[in-house]
C-alpha cells in the first residue's frame, strides 16, 4: 500500500475533519433520526406496526422478488460476463458498454418503459399476451425490473475474476482427460463462485430497496403486489409516520446485513491473494 505513515504531507486534519463533519451532518444524523424515532416508540406499538398483515405481505413479496431477481441476475450475468470475456464477436465493445446502461438510466425511465413494453399493445406484450404470458402489473414484472437493475452488478463483479483466471489450470485439467463440462464444473466454477455470490448479494441489496422502477410496473395493491418501499411511501402519504418508520427500520437492517455480507464475501474471496 502506498501510504505515508509519518504525516509528512499537509492537510490531514483539514481533509479528515471535513470528511467526518460532512458524513455526520449529511448521513449519520438522518440515520440516527430514523433509528431514534424507531427506538422511542413504545415496544408493543413498534412491534404491532412492524408486523401487520399488510407489512408481512410486503416483506414477503420484497424479499422473494429480490431473491428471485438476484438469482436470475446471477445466471444471466454469469453468462453475459463469460461471453464478453472469453469470446470475440462483432460489436463486442458496444455490448460490453451497454451493460452499464441500467446504472446510467433513471429508474423512473426504466419503470416507464417496462410498464409499456409488456401491456397487450406493447412491443413484447402483443406477442406474449396471446401466448398467455401476462407480465404487465404482475409480480413477475417486479422481478423483471429488479433483474434489469441487478444483472450489471453480477457482470461487473465477474468480469475481472474471469479475466484473471489462469488458463494453465484449465489446460492441465484438459490434458488429464477432463471434458469441457468437467473443467467448467470442477475448475472454473469453484474459482468464480465467490464472484457470483458477491454479484448476487449486490443485486439483492439493490433490489430490496428499489422503488422508482417497481412503482411503475406493479399494480401496488396492498397485501398483493405492494413491496416494502411502496408501503413506506403509502404510509407517509397517510401521515402514519410510526408505521412508515417501523417498516423502514426493517428494510434498513436488512440492507445493513447485506452490506456486511458483501464486505465479508469480498474479504473471503481475496483470502488467498497475499
Amino acid at each position: 500500500m502506498a501510504q505515508v505513515n509519518r504525516r509528512v504531507l499537509p492537510g490531514f486534519r483539514l481533509s479528515l475533519g471535513f470528511t467526518l463533519v460532512y458524513l455526520t451532518v449529511l448521513v449519520l444524523v438522518p440515520l440516527a433520526a430514523c433509528l431514534l424515532t424507531a427506538a422511542s416508540l413504545p415496544r408493543d406499538e413498534f412491534l404491532k406496526a412492524v408486523w401487520t398483515e399488510r407489512a408481512r405481505a410486503a416483506y414477503a413479496l420484497t424479499f422473494v422478488a429480490a431473491f428471485v431477481a438476484a438469482g436470475v441476475s446471477a445466471v444471466l450475468g454469469t453468462l453475459i460476463a463469460w461471453v464478453l470475456v472469453r469470446y470475440d464477436f462483432p460489436l463486442k465493445k458496444f455490448f460490453d458498454a451497454i451493460v452499464d446502461l441500467p446504472f446510467a438510466l433513471p429508474t423512473a425511465v426504466a419503470g416507464l418503459v417496462f410498464s409499456n413494453l409488456y401491456v397487450p399493445s406493447g412491443w413484447f406484450g402483443r406477442f406474449l399476451v396471446p401466448m398467455g404470458v401476462e407480465f404487465a402489473y404482475s409480480q413477475a414484472a417486479i422481478v423483471l425490473v429488479m433483474v434489469f437493475i441487478g444483472f450489471p452488478f453480477v457482470v461487473r463483479t465477474l468480469q475481472p475474476v474471469l479475466e484473471s483466471l489462469d488458463h494453465e489450470t484449465e489446460e492441465a485439467a484438459a490434458m488429464l482427460g477432463a471434458g469441457r463440462w468437467q473443467v467448467f464444473r470442477r475448475v472454473i466454477f469453484p474459482a468464480i463462485l465467490p464472484g457470483i455470490v458477491t454479484g448476487f448479494a449486490l443485486a439483492f441489496a439493490r433490489a430490496l430497496g428499489e422503488y422508482g422502477s417497481v412503482v411503475f410496473v406493479s399494480s401496488n395493491i396492498p397485501g398483493k403486489s405492494e413491496i416494502a418501499a411502496v408501503l413506506i411511501v403509502n404510509k407517509l402519504e397517510e401521515f402514519k409516520y410510526v408505521e412508515a418508520t417501523a417498516v423502514a427500520t426493517v428494510l434498513l437492517f436488512a440492507s445493513f446485513l447485506m452490506l456486511a455480507v458483501v464486505n465479508w464475501l469480498e474479504r473471503w474471496s481475496r483470502r488467498w491473494d497475499r
Partner: protein, 292 residues
C-alpha cells in the same frame, strides 16, 4: 506480465464452436431484450406523434420546463458537494494512516445500501412538523421539506459514495511519491494539490463525477418523499415523468424520459471513453514504479 514463450493453447481447453455461438447468441439476445429494445422504445414512443408534438410536450408545458430547470440545479449542486467531499475523503484515506480508516470507508459506502425511500423518510423525520428540527425551524420561519433544499439534501445523501469511491483507489494506485517530491521542493499544500495531485487523478475524478451526476439526475425515491410532488415547484424530471404517467399523458412522459435516456446514453459514452484514459493513467504509474 505474461510469460515470454507463448504455448499454443490446448485445443481441449477451448469451448467447441457450437457452444461459443450458442452462448454468444443468448447473451446478445438477452442484452437486446433487456437493454436495447427498451431504450429504442423510449424514443419511438416519444416521437410517436411526430416532431412538433414532441417539442410541444417538452417545452409547451410550464411544469415540465420547470422540472428540467430544477433537475439542472439540483443535480449539479449535489455533485459539487460530493466532489468536495470525495476529494477530501480520498486525500485523508489514501495518503494517511489513522485508526478507524476501514470503518470510515464502510460509512462512506453506507448510502449505497439504504433504500432511497428510507432516505426520504429520514429527512421527513428530521425536518417534518413532527420531526426533530421541524417545530424549531417552523418557529424561525424556515421551511426545508417540500422545497428544492430538501431535494438537494436527499439527492446528495444518495450520491455520497460515488466520487470518493472512484478517487480513493486511483490515489492509492498513484501513490504519494510525486507529492512528497513537490513538498521537498518547497510547494505548499494547495500547490501540491492543484499542480501535482489534480492532474494525476483527473480522469478518476471525472469518472466519479459522471457516475454521481447520472445517479443524481435520475434519483426518484428519495426526492419523491421529500419533495411533496408539487408540479412546477418541487418536481424534478423523473418525478414529472411519474406525474404525467399517472395522469395518463404517456406521450409527454415519454418525451421527458427520452431526454433523460439521451443524458444516460451520453453519460455511458463519456464513461467508456474516460475508462480508457483512467486505465492508461494508473497503468503508466504502475509501470513507472516497476522501472524505478
Amino acid at each position: 506480465m505474461g510469460s515470454l514463450t507463448t504455448v499454443p493453447r490446448a485445443a481441449k481447453a477451448e469451448d467447441p464452436a457450437w457452444i461459443r455461438w450458442t452462448l454468444t447468441a443468448v447473451a446478445v439476445l438477452l442484452l437486446t431484450v433487456l437493454v436495447i429494445v427498451p431504450v429504442v422504445s423510449v424514443f419511438v414512443e416519444a416521437f410517436a406523434d411526430g416532431w412538433t408534438a414532441y417539442w410541444d410536450n417538452l417545452l409547451g408545458d410550464p411544469d415540465t420546463r420547470s422540472a428540467m430547470l430544477l433537475t439542472a440545479v439540483v443535480a449539479p449542486v449535489a455533485v459539487a458537494c460530493n466532489v468536495a467531499f470525495g476529494v477530501a475523503a480520498a486525500w485523508a484515506i489514501a495518503r494517511f494512516h489513522f485508526r478507524g480508516r476501514t470503518t470510515l470507508v464502510t460509512v462512506i459506502d453506507l448510502p449505497f445500501s439504504v433504500s432511497p425511500v428510507v432516505v426520504g423518510l429520514m429527512f421527513v423525520l428530521l425536518f417534518g412538523m413532527q420531526g426533530f428540527f421541524g417545530p424549531w425551524l417552523r418557529a424561525h420561519g424556515v421551511q426545508i421539506l417540500f422545497t428544492p433544499i430538501a431535494l438537494i439534501l436527499a439527492t446528495t445523501f444518495v450520491t455520497v459514495p460515488f466520487v470518493a469511491r472512484e478517487m480513493i483507489p486511483v490515489m492509492e494506485a498513484i501513490g504519494p511519491d510525486e507529492e512528497l517530491a513537490a513538498l521537498s521542493l518547497g510547494a505548499n499544500g494547495w500547490q501540491i494539490f492543484v499542480r501535482v495531485t489534480l492532474p494525476n487523478v483527473k480522469w478518476g475524478l471525472i469518472y466519479g463525477v459522471l457516475l454521481c451526476n447520472a445517479r443524481a439526475m435520475g434519483e426518484f425515491g428519495a426526492v419523491y418523499v421529500v419533495g411533496g410532488r408539487i408540479a412546477g415547484e418541487t418536481n424534478t424530471m423523473p418525478l414529472q415523468v411519474d406525474m404525467l404517467f399517472q395522469g395518463f399523458n404517456s406521450p409527454a412522459a415519454f418525451a421527458i424520459a427520452s431526454v433523460l435516456t439521451l443524458l444516460g446514453l451520453v453519460t455511458l459514452a463519456l464513461k467508456t471513453w474516460v475508462e480508457g484514459r483512467k486505465k492508461d493513467l494508473t497503468q503508466s504509474h504502475e509501470d513507472a514504479k516497476v522501472e524505478s
